[in-house]
């Protein structure tokens, strides 16, 4: 299993450069498999996902009034294409305020696998996918954002740019509550952590549970 640093060393500078991003302004972190030692069975099952590496890149200083932007980097280091469930369907974003209280993202639609419908499910995420790009420099792949499955081309890195602009409007101590009222993200220092399960859709039950460390960001 490769690391985010390896991916960045190959691809991320290229992306940043292409997007005129200053590397020192980003915080990067690898999404590591959660406690892989506790799930040894997955190693043997995970060949198909062995070449998939995840990382996150967050601007230290977010743009004022535009919420929180971050980039989820999915790299397929395998020489084969890999079809997996849409990572954005299962992405979990945990944001803590300066005091460490969790902030809830607005209520969206649940992941499609949980919806019992015979029709195409209405899908509304708690965050916005701003763009999807890859290292092949293909045209924006945003049209694939709501697809149920996502094909990672061989030796290709995908960049999912995400923006979080609102939180649920609840008292932070009442973190168990659910509110459809939202509020814009205010200035402040936040911590962001991503949890991203990826899994194949071939019924093989091959998956990986990955998470990042908390990343501190500041919104001025």
């Amino acid at each position: 299993m490769g690391g985010l640093s390896a991916a960045l060393s190959i691809n991320l500078p290229e992306y940043i450069n292409k997007h005129k991003m200053k590397q020192e302004e980003y915080i990067t972190g690898e999404l590591k498999e959660i406690d892989s030692s506790l799930t040894p069975s997955r190693k043997s099952l995970g060949d198909a996902l062995a070449g998939v590496k995840l990382s996150v890149k967050v601007l230290k200083k977010q743009q004022p009034g535009k919420g929180i932007s971050l980039i989820v980097v999915v790299e397929n280091t395998s020489p084969k294409n890999t079809k997996l469930a849409n990572p954005m369907d299962s992405l979990q974003i945990i944001i803590l305020d300066e005091e460490g209280w969790p902030l809830k993202l607005p209520v969206g639609r649940p992941p499609r696998v949980l919806i019992n419908t015979k029709d195409p499910a209405e899908f509304k995420r708690s965050f916005e996918i701003v763009s999807i790009k890859n290292s092949l420099d293909e045209p924006d792949l945003i049209n694939l954002a709501d697809d149920e499955q996502f094909i990672l081309k061989a030796k290709t890195t995908y960049y999912f740019e995400i923006r979080i602009s609102h939180f649920q409007n609840i008292n932070k101590e009442n973190y168990r509550a659910v509110s459809r009222s939202v509020k814009k993200i205010s200035k402040g220092i936040y911590k962001i952590k991503l949890t991203l399960p990826i899994y194949l859709t071939d019924g093989s039950n091959v998956f990986r549970m990955c998470e990042s460390e908390f990343v501190n960001i500041e919104i001025k």
Binding site: I34, D35, L38, T39, A85, D89, S90, Q92, I93, I94, L96, D97, E99, G100, W101, P102, K104, V107, G108, R109, P110, P111, V113, L114, I115, N116, T117, K118, D119, A121, E122, K172, E173, Y175, R176, V178, K193, T195, L196, P197, Y199, T201, G203, N205, F207, M209, E211
Partner: protein
Amino acid sequence: MKRSQIIREQKLYLSYLPHVREMYGKIPGVVLIGLGAKEKAGKSLNKWAFRFYVNKKLSLQEIPEEQQIPGRIFGVQTDVVAGFEKESLICSATNFAVNDEGYRDEGIRGGVSIRNEFFDNDHPSGYGTLGILGRRKSDNALIGLTCSHVANAAADSVTAVNAKIGQPKYWISCCCCPRGYIGDIRKATSNSDLDCAIIEIHDDIREKVTSNSTENRIEGIIGNIGGADAVVCFETLQKYGRATGLTTGKVTDVAFGTNQMLIERTGGNPGDPFACHGDSGAVIVNSGNKVVGLLVAGQRSNLARAIVTHIKPVMVELGITIAGTDAATIGDPVGGGAIGCELFAWPGGQADPALNPAEIFASTDFGLAGSVNWDVSGGAPGAVIVETGTQTANGMPAISVRYGTVSPSKSPNHAVWVKASDGTKDVTKFRTVFMFVGRTVNTSSLVESSNTKRFAATGGTGNTQAGVSLPGTDGATWFLAKAETVYDIGPQDIDWSGSGGISFETGTPAGIKGNIVARRETRFTRGEQQNGAPNRTHTDQVDWISAGGSTDDEFQGPDNAAPSEIFRLANEGFDPSNLLQGYLRAEFRDFLEFHNGTGWTRITPFAEWFANLTGDLSGTGNPPPAVGAVNNIDVGVNAEKIPNQSPVITLTDFQEVKPGENVTLNATPTDPDNDVLTVRWAQTAGPAVALSSSTGNPVSFTAPANDPQLKFTATADDGTGVLSRTQGNHLSNVAETIVNVIEWLDRQGGNTRLCINNEELFNAASFGIGPGPLNWDVTTGGTAAVIVEADGVSTAPSGTFNGATTILVNYNNVSADATRANSVKIEATSPGDGKKWYKRRTVTAIAFAVTTASVPGAVPSNAMGATVWGLTFPENVTATICAYRNGLNWQAALLTATGNFSLQARLLAGVTEVTGPGGNTLITNYCPQMNNLNSLNGPTWYMISAVTAHENVHATRFLPALNDPTVIGVLRTAIDGLTVPHAAGMNQALAIAALTALPAFAAALTAAQANWLARILILVAGDHAAGGPTDTAEHGIVDPMVTAICAHSRANGWAACPPLCP
């Protein structure tokens, strides 16, 4: 010397006389012992002496020592008078006559000549003297007093009566007329004591006596006779007789024989007789003109000395009065006549009054009758009348006297006087109080020159040291114990010679009053251990065995070497053949018994002695000691009994048990003598427990509750309690063992998150070592624990805490095993006195896993879209925690995690629930119903339960998802890492409140929810696959309904509905 003094001493010395005669009267050559005047150079002095009359005087060299007459007896001088031979004083032819006148016409009287009818007129002999006239008491007849040998001179018998008596002689005239007749003999007595007779005076003569008033006259003596009286020694007397007329003399012996006295002439020329032939029958008159005696004889070789019978026994014998005096009025002593010998010594003087036998006196023993007055205060002190406890008592016919003080000597002055008085007569007896003091002869005494007085290994018949024969043949080795008890007598001047005194019986006691017998009682303790025998055997003779009377061999009277000692011997032994070890203790107690006339009574304390003998013979290969050699045997009165070595007992010092446990106490007793040992147990501390037995080994009991400390002692007894030479060494040391009954329970713990572990509160009261704060330590056992709370206040976990009344112990370590050594020891120490107590716990690993649950019912956060049949969604995760001190902080530990999910199911708008046959299934719709159901998606007919079944498939993924380490593991890590600082007064509840209020706690739960959802997404990914789990679940619901509808349609003859119901 005054007359009164003479009279007192005469009475005293006359009382000694019987005993002097008893003691010395049997000395060869001694004819008579009297009391009277000491003679010196042929002259009688006015000094008292016991007069020993012998036929011939011998020099001291000629007399054996034991036959020598002491110079003094009872403090009175002695005198030896030789060559005394009596001669009756009937007138012989050669004798002269001072007065042979006839007095018949002028009144006969005393002192005149008489002669009986057996003589011719002219015969020159046969004369005597009429002593005095008197009255016969029986008929007041006038009688004349003379000697029997006078009255019956020449008669066939001197005691014959009725012979005629004449004055101055009886004779027949030529005309055959009797002449001189005055009367007839009416009574005549002649024996060794008396020689007297009375003549009944004829009436004619009596008339002359009366008319001439001569009844109380004696010729030649001035004045009338005034009566009769007892004689007083050294007194000057007079008599008037036919031969010598009026002569004077002095009493030189008031106890010459039984009833006689001896008078020696005074005045006149030397050699002049006091009386001579023809004077017999004359009476002796004292200076008071009272008759004191009847002249009966004189000394053949010296007629200046005359033998006179005391008048009192004469008057008693003849039954007469003289000058109106009755014999009964004449006091004692009358003449020293013996009244029977009696013991003059009696045992007494012992400190223990019981050893002083009482002597019984009756008034009759004193010649008195009936009740008399008694006095034992005279003479030496210490006598007590038993009946009254005093020294005087009145009006008692008999008394018992106990003598409390031994007489310093046999002197009469050191004797006890026992006096009886009837008011007119005093009679005194004298008792020298003697006492024996025993002493045991030990090895140093040389009572026998041939006896070493040692225990000795003696051989066979060669041993004759003790005068006893030993069993075994010559050369056999036996051990002999031998010792003597010697009795010293006090006073030491009591004589032992054969002349009289105390009589000691030897051999079989005769049981005569005054006898003394020596006795010995014995008991033996013998112990032997033969070679090869495991134990020593005892023969313990507990009771004293009384010996019979002492034998001649055993009891020896005093001899010249030890004149005041008696002694006896004893022996005992055992055969050491094949003897490994052996011992013998012979105990003896010797004593003397005295026969008080009724029975034997002990008069000495027990003279106790013993002999110990030990042998260590064939077992060691050492030969027996040689004959006569001093060996390892001791003799004495102060040594111990048997040789014995104390047993030894050991106990385990300490043991710890649980309440209710059966506890065994096991001692290890040993004994160097191989004695059979008895182990005795005693509980000395703690609540009483019921030992299985107070003796024996081992013993057991059931440990009580409540953690007491019990103490027990064990002692071994080798059974030689009364035998051991060293008092008390039959017992071993006292060994003590302590049994701590310690609460010992099982607990669970070992988790580093302390609040997971069992915790337990301990308080001082449950430790019973004193109220108030204690010092606690939970680290001294094999497994340590920590104290997390003291007196209700949280503390940083620590192994010790001082000064708390209560503590809360957290078992944070697991015992390696269930042994006591690896238990947790909760130990408390009282700071005041250092007392400790403790309890134990065995800690096993506590089984802990975070409890998880997936619980439906949460409020849905997502509304279902218009085309959504159902939605099951993990809404949130809740958790419970505990908290524990970790240094200065409280740290959280996750206890439970609950995944709360919402489950929504519905029929879409326009879809009707199929209720089946009997419901809404009709001939008109049954086929669409079946087809809609089978297609699982309506669009008209469906079943809500099928939708729910679909959602339940998802729900079944939720708990496994929650339990996935990626969920619960991450959550636990996050929760368990939470801490809050400890603050004063903070306890676990407050700590939990603080911890769950942390943003991080909320963040952890939020993350858990996210992770849970992520994991669910993976698990449910395949649920919706065609023919997958949700389809199967829905078919599980709808298929039976389809089947039922089909069956119903067929039953009702409805048309087929292919392919579901062809």
